[in-house]
């Protein structure tokens, strides 16, 4: 096996290509997939938006020089103004990076309040953030970061290498119970030879380390925290009114849980004062109210556009809809621990009864692409579109489905599908489709807390779920299909899949790896580990006077945004 030189990960800039090669070479395939997907690079047939995409829908991955959305071809960036951001969540549980578990809060809010060691550019390469440059040793076990001079926290305190050590200690303190502490497991030492130099040693190479632990947004575990602020206000208050080091600072008096908060420009941000004076984050949990709020002009921008509102916003020519490829897969799981679902014929009958395109048309208004496996279409190097894949044993075939339903004895029986309360559309469409094979589906709707607990405990017959993007979507396979995967709550256990999954982490030959992933996909299809359903894109929307937005999938870095009004 060829020995890899990890020094290519050194900065001031690591291209996406390098990151991908590195990731592939070291088995962090999921991470590579994410990079590949997010950049949506040339050849990939990215999640094709539904028919009738409007002209103002801007491709998320401009290949040209301008990083901004195409809506701002030649505008002169202006300073000042207030951006009102409608945010779709019940309540923001915390803004403390080390505690955030709500993905959109991490990617879209915390990333504006906190800078980190490195950050993503529009092509998803890593570029400097607080660290001006960095080096990685040949073994990939030692990272040396050189911080910018004169960095400051929002409270005016200098930000130095010691602050990262404090942050490390805080995050990994068992009493603090950070859900992200596990991302720092491999660190054996973290030292500061001088105020501007940070040295981190790992027990073994770990390719996604920069992205999962050190990046702005997803790298929550090592996002630097002001020690003085913590001592002054305590952990709980810090979660409400954090003192960060990013382009915008939270106005403490404005924070109202469940209503939102204000952020103002941080004059001393190393990148210079951001263009906007102020951002008002307004929480609007109801999807229909969120769309109304945008159209009524209550807010200038939405974080995420619900599928049900896409048609309506497309028809509004004052609003720009931006679509970026999201990397995810969604499927139907049938619990192996609950007969008859341990019988592959029963699972196959269900899968074959689902017409994927029709399912997407009805449940998601056509705003997704059919899925044949857990590899998202954006992963160009390994993804094979359904029409080129050849035979997909779990594809739609009603006659075979009926025969299998008869054979496995599920005809005329009933089954419960566990559903969260938010939007049971997919479950409803599924229910109608499965009537065709004589299976009566009852939808069991639960609130999030109860839903998560039941899912985690594997207490369900059927459930629609899948993997959505984070910085290390290798989880998307390993976590769901490895017999010891943490999200394998349905009892899937195929030693061959385990072996292949482990294999993909050991080899660095891309062809070999591709073959392995395809082999895994073939087995997953045959086993009906999941009945794979669809992949969805990431969407945001704003008024046309909002300029300078750089679309980075799942992120909303807002320092480049300005208002033309």
């Amino acid at each position: 096996m060829k020995r890899f030189d990890w020094r290519v990960l050194s900065g001031p800039r690591v291209s996406r290509r390098t990151l991908m090669q590195m990731a592939l070479a070291t088995g962090a395939v999921g991470f590579a997939q994410w990079l590949s997907a997010c950049a949506g690079g040339g050849a990939t047939p990215t999640a094709a938006p539904a028919a009738g995409a409007t002209p103002q829908a801007v491709p998320a991955t401009p290949s040209g020089a301008t990083p901004t959305a195409a809506a701002t071809p030649a505008g002169e960036a202006r300073r000042g103004g207030t951006l009102r951001l409608g945010f779709g969540i019940g309540q923001i549980l915390t803004l403390d990076p080390a505690q955030v578990t709500q993905g959109i809060v991490a990617g879209e809010l915390v990333s504006n309040i906190f800078s980190s060691l490195v950050q993503f550019d529009k092509d998803l390469g890593l570029i400097p953030d607080l660290a001006e440059t960095w080096e990685v040793n040949e073994d990939g076990t030692e990272y040396t970061f050189h911080l910018r001079d004169g960095l400051k926290f929002h409270n005016g305190d200098p930000l130095l290498a010691q602050d990262f050590i404090y942050t490390y200690e805080r995050t990994t303190n068992p009493d603090f119970a950070s859900p992200h502490a596990n991302k720092l497991n491999l660190i054996t030492s973290i030292t500061a030879p001088d105020e501007l130099t940070l040295v981190i040693k790992l027990s073994e190479p770990y390719a996604p380390f920069l992205a999962t632990a050190c990046s702005r947004g997803p790298g929550r575990a090592l996002t630097p925290i002001s020690k003085r602020a913590i001592e002054e206000m305590g952990d709980q208050q810090f979660g409400l009114t954090p003192v960060g080091c990013g382009p915008f600072m939270v106005v403490p008096e404005s924070v109202e849980v469940g209503k939102g908060f204000r952020m103002v420009a941080f004059e001393d941000w190393y990148g210079g004062r951001p263009l906007l004076d102020e951002i008002i984050v307004q929480i609007i949990p109801e999807p229909s109210s969120r769309i109304s709020a945008l159209e009524a002009g209550d807010v200038d921008m939405l974080d995420i556009v619900p599928a049900s509102g896409v048609e309506q916003l497309k028809a509004n020519d004052r609003i720009t809809l931006v679509e970026a490829p999201g990397t995810n897969w969604i499927g139907l799981t049938m619990n192996y621990k609950r007969p008859p679902w341990d019988n592959v014929d029963a699972r196959m009958a269900v899968s074959k009864a689902i017409n994927r395109q029709e399912f997407i048309d009805k449940a998601l208004f056509g705003l997704a692409v059919p899925s044949i496996g857990a590899i998202a279409p954006a992963f160009g190097w390994v993804y094979v579109p359904p029409e080129q894949w050849g035979e997909n044993p779990q594809g739609y075939n009603l006659e075979e489905a009926k025969a299998l339903a008869e054979k496995s004895g599920i005809r005329g029986t009933s089954v419960k599908i566990l559903s969260s309360a938010q939007d049971p559309r997919p479950e409803e469409v599924l229910r109608t489709m499965l009537q065709e094979i004589g299976l009566d589906v009852q939808i069991e709707q639960l609130q999030d807390a109860a839903y998560n607990e039941r899912w985690k405990a594997g207490d369900y017959d059927m459930n629609i779920n899948g993997s959505v993007v984070d910085a290390d979507p290798d989880d998307g396979h390993w976590n769901f299909f490895h017999s010891k995967g943490p999200w394998n709550t349905y009892g899937y256990n195929n030693p061959k899949v385990d072996e292949l999954l482990e294999g993909t982490r050991k080899t660095n030959n891309q062809d070999e790896r591709r073959q392995m992933w395809h082999e895994i996909q073939r087995i997953l299809q045959r086993d009906v580990a999941y009945a794979f359903l669809y992949h969805t894109p990431d969407r945001t929307a704003f008024y046309t006077y909002v300029k300078g937005y750089v679309a980075i999938p799942e992120m909303r870095y807002l320092e480049t945004v300005w208002l033309e009004k």
């Binding site: 769309i291 049900s308 009805k362 409803e428 109608t432 939808i443 069991e444 709707q445 109860a450």
Partner: protein, 306 residues
């Protein structure tokens, strides 16, 4: 939620107050019917309720399509073949509405019945026996009352899970106290009436007095209250569904249809307008009927106007 600006407690207060005002309640059936006929609102309400009840009975038989058939195209506006259009799944809305009539009515009526039976029993016992029995029961009723309806229903459904049965029980529990109060107030008044005293004087036992003498005399406010409760139950179902706590989404109720339309009010108004109108019309009919009934049963008000 559930107690959308509720009628019920107001109703309670009203009955308490009219209890003060009234000296005696005439119960003769023919007079009642004559007055009811005079109450045109009530007749209108009765007529509409009757029509809907008929629809609930024969509903599935006359629905043009199967309520789950979803191959008619999404968001088709009302047309001859689909008078109410199709919904966001491509199902015929009219068929779902017709089938939903039965489900919604059943939920409303069952909830009202359970609330009525339990509430009446509690109110009867509390009012009749008075003293510590009354205190005990009424403290429990106060507890139910002071306990916000919303928490009661949301909590119940959260504990026992969504689904028609639990929704019914939750709604019933939330409105039970109204019956208990109405009945108790009546009993308190009737207890002092001549016929009760007379019955006691001739040695009738308590059970007999309660069942033979007092209960029939409380029938009027109970019926009025029950009429309102059915409407409240139907409204509460739609509210619970709005909060994601309604019946299994596979059951076609009006509340569910309304909720499924709420994200598309602008692009497909019919999906939420028809279920909304159906709910409104039904509850309105029940309210008008109940209101007319109250007026018809309320001797004093009627005689004043005559």
């Amino acid at each position: 939620m559930a107690r959308e600006p509720g009628i019920a407690p107001a109703q309670v207060a009203h009955d308490r107050l009219s209890a003060l005002a009234e000296q005696r309640r005439a119960a003769a059936g023919n007079r009642f019917w004559r007055r009811l006929r005079a109450e045109r609102k009530a007749l209108l309400g009765l007529f509409l309720v009757g029509l809907l009840a008929l629809l609930a009975l024969v509903g599935p038989g006359i629905a043009p399509y199967h309520p789950d058939a979803d191959d008619f195209g999404l968001f088709q506006p009302p047309s001859l073949s689909h008078p109410m259009g199709t919904d966001s799944f491509g199902r015929d809305l009219l068929s779902r509405m017709i089938v939903g009539t039965r489900v919604s009515f059943t939920i409303g009526i069952l909830a009202a019945l359970i609330a009525m039976v339990t509430g009446v029993l509690l109110g009867l016992v509390a009012g009749f026996y008075g003293r510590w029995v009354d205190s005990l029961i009424m403290r429990f009723i106060d507890l139910l009352w002071a306990f916000p309806v919303i928490v009661l229903t949301v909590g119940m459904v959260a504990i026992f899970g969504a689904g028609a049965r639990n929704v019914v029980i939750a709604i019933a529990l939330a409105y039970l106290d109204d019956f208990a109060r109405v009945v108790r107030a009546e009993v308190l008044r009737l207890r002092e009436e001549d016929f009760t005293l007379a019955a006691r004087a001739v040695g009738a036992d308590n059970l007999r007095i309660m069942l033979r003498h007092i209960l029939p005399n409380t029938a009027a406010p109970i019926i009025v209250q029950a009429t309102f409760a059915v409407g409240l139950g139907i409204l509460a179902e739609s509210g619970l569904t709005f909060l994601g706590l309604g019946v299994d989404p596979s059951t076609p109720t009006w509340g569910l249809a309304l909720n499924e339309g709420r994200d598309f009010v602008r692009q497909a108004w019919w999906i939420s307008v028809f279920p909304g109108l159906a709910i409104m019309l039904t509850v309105l009919s029940l309210n008008l009927f109940g209101d007319g009934l109250r007026d018809a049963l309320d001797v004093r008000t009627v005689s004043e106007a005559e």
